[in-house]
Symmetry: C2
Subunit: 169 residues, 2 copies
Amino acid sequence: MVHIYTGNGKGKTTASIGLAVRALGHGFKVYMGQFMKGQIYGELRTLEKLGVLVERFGTDNCIISLEHVQDIDREKAKAGYERVKEVITSGKYDLVILDEICICPFFKLLTTEEIIDLIKIKPDNTELVLTGRYAPEELFDHADLITEMKEIKHYYNTMGLMARDGIER
Amino acid sequence: MVHIYTGNGKGKTTASIGLAVRALGHGFKVYMGQFMKGQIYGELRTLEKLGVLVERFGTDNCIISLEHVQDIDREKAKAGYERVKEVITSGKYDLVILDEICICPFFKLLTTEEIIDLIKIKPDNTELVLTGRYAPEELFDHADLITEMKEIKHYYNTMGLMARDGIER
């Protein structure tokens, strides 16, 4: 099965972490590749402790528009793509999470076709989870489960608060 | 802060589990109370191993409409409510997750006012996370962050598949 968690609301990455925890509870092997992220976030330490292989394919650059994307971001994303292709085809993992991959086409780090190719090469018994806002609609036909996380209210906006350790990262 | 994860899409409970994992990565103390659930799901075993106190206030009854609610469900929900009130006021936990509490008013297991009271008694430094579909709108004014998980596509509908171990439970 292929899941997509997209939308502008909070809960996409955390939902995939929750899926990882649930899968681990059943003895499944779990891999998480994070695109566009360079920093080590709190959740990764815990996931790693639980035996999840976590790899990051981003930099600490804060990319909020296309002009912020640098060559190094493109290189890291491409290298990450090759790496996750290997991971998926290996069939070693029951659950493969590709965090923030859905936003990569928007920032021209990967193409939609490249992501569809990952879905196509996936072994039948591998569960593939793709997260990130702005998931291109062309992806939807290739997914079995799609949830849009829709922001209804967020303290970023109402209170001007930024990301906090332990809650947002 | 008070978070609400509601809507008909997949990812509400898993997002709260992800928040728990993230908080644990920062050394926070985490409590999870699950309303309307009696069964032990895969994720709980892993969360418990990580030091999260998980308690359940439901039965194995499958409640899909008001007519399915039995006295035992109401009693368990009421007892759970008293228990989580204690947990919240104790101030012992940095993160308190009340899973499926948002749907309790819909099934007349708890009132919306009772849930608002929990928000009001919460110590300032306790992060409170409420999940469940059909969250009553009266709750929204009392929350800082609200995400609606919107189902766009689900294999329950397209393929007639039911919940699978390690993925849905």
